[in-house]
Symmetry: C2
Subunit: 310 residues, 2 copies
């Protein structure tokens, strides 16, 4: 930074990026350096503390809610003689924010997923099979949303019960996949009805054609506020979103010491998890719903959205 | 039908449905029955003969092209030191129409997939690995589109090279899945770079939020023309789409004997498959591009599209 005369470093990202901001600003403070380091929140995982939520989460939630409605409608369309099941695996290692957003498919025109499992609550295979069996007695279409990171009471990841090899990323996190397939196999073996596994995979983080307008505006605004803060001499801090009212939605922006943020994972509050650990509450809906509002008027040419190329 | 005084039977669907129309109209003819049986084409597979294309294909192609662009952009965004690969598995047992549509992601702002494999051409694992190795020498982001039904020269399905059990549906078709995973494992073993598998699964057939306007209009029109035909006394026939001009797009509707249609699968013409069986030609683009044009102004309430519930 000294070599290139760089005075300000604004880093956009989630937990790992905020840890980088903490380390860099600590280093600068320790060595009497003048460079300013500011964190700009951005992660679909929504697991940064202090800020109400993170840019990216609203758009990913809009994709998840929209696609979940479409999957439920597809799954219901068969008029099958026996129950038809579908397990949808959604991103989230330790925090179930994204998976919880599948409840936004619960609308006057859609019943939403039947079961929602988050990593915040220990997953018990026997209770799961019991819940699914009960549903099979009363419904012909059953759609189950699960976080990739659901785990047993002893901490064993459900995906580790399968055969898939687990990769480790550059930050030492295990690359999870396979929990959906494990549950599908469990249903096949213990209940016997045909079950499909769907993994949203990276579609949930890259579906810009379903971005939420609120999310886009806030992503722009945290960047703007971050630049202002750096120019005003702030360092070692992250910009936050402070929601003043949820209905009608009113948000403002703040700034907070990075030391309270780096390496702290914000999870879905346990009292928002209901129905014996198989759903999320209306408090969650009130929280998440404003974040999926509005659409980007996407620039389409020739029937397919155009991307901005720098 | 006699019990309920039903005179007209219009059946919306693909190959299996057209076979039903053939059997029912043959039965009526053989037994001197007056009921009229008309097929209305509708399948994302686009594998019905005689008609230029089938309703459903344009919207599924719009989803595939849009999502493929987003996946490619995501895959390119890492600036990794070594190549990052992604295999995208797309529906299509014997016909590669849907997978071919991934080439519509090839736009001024996107290079499109690097390799496209259709079931129409025998798949050779050694040549595949050779192509991928070559790409790894010159690119850091490689995205490969494959049909679920790609097969070796001896007819063995690539997905059967994996461990996944194959289900059989009500019409006796095998439920395929796993070809993408098989190729991903092949790359991991023989090349070693990190590779992700994405299955579009049912998202490609149920993503109504990305429906094409041309497709919606034509779906309505083949129904209208089918009703007219039945009322005019036609039976044992299917409504067809006849494209008079591709640019600007002008289509009309016709009607054709079901016996030329039932149980005949229309495949991607071999002379549209290029680059040693790894891509599709501009003729394909000219064919498919008009079908993804325009959008439905979807009725959104609360940030998520509403569905019509009868």
């Amino acid at each position: 930074m000294e070599k290139y005369d760089i005075e300000y470093f604004l880093y956009i990202g989630g937990n790992d990026s905020m840890d980088t901001i903490k380390q860099l600003s600590d280093y600068a403070a320790m060595h009497g350096k003048d460079q300013k380091f500011i964190g700009i929140p951005k992660t679909i995982d929504n697991d940064l503390p202090v800020t109400d939520h993170t840019p990216g989460y609203g758009s990913a939630s809009k994709f998840i809610a929209t696609t979940m409605k479409e999957i439920i409608r597809d799954n219901e369309s068969f008029g099958a003689s026996e129950p038809k099941l579908c397990v949808v695996e959604i991103m989230g290692r330790n925090a179930g924010w994204l998976t919880a957003a599948s409840m936004l498919a619960d609308d006057p025109d859609c019943n939403g997923p039947d079961l929602i499992y988050l990593p915040e609550v220990a997953f018990d295979p026997d209770t799961f099979i019991h819940h699914v069996k009960d549903l099979c007695l009363i419904e012909k279409s059953i759609v189950i949303a699960i976080s990739e990171g659901i785990k047993l009471a002893d901490g064993t990841l459900v995906c580790e019960l399968g055969n898939d090899a687990a990769f480790v990323d550059a930050f030492g996190h295990r690359q999870l996949s396979g929990a959906g397939k494990v549950l599908t196999n469990m249903i096949a073996e213990q209940i016997g009805y045909k079950t499909r596994t769907i993994e949203f995979s990276i579609l949930q983080r890259c579906a810009t054609h379903l971005a939420s307008r609120v999310d886009i505006d806030e992503a722009y605004n945290v960047g703007y506020v971050g630049c202002e803060a750096a120019l005003n001499g702030e360092t070692g801090k992250m910009i936050t979103i402070e929601v003043l009212k949820r209905t009608p939605y009113v948000a403002d922006y703040g700034i907070h010491d990075i030391h309270d943020i780096a390496n702290v994972e914000k999870k879905v509050p346990l009292d928002w998890i209901t129905r014996d650990g198989t759903y999320v509450s209306d408090e969650f809906r009130e929280y998440a719903h404003p974040l999926v509002l509005g659409s980007l008027s996407k620039y389409t040419a020739g029937g397919v959205p155009k991307h901005l190329v720098l």
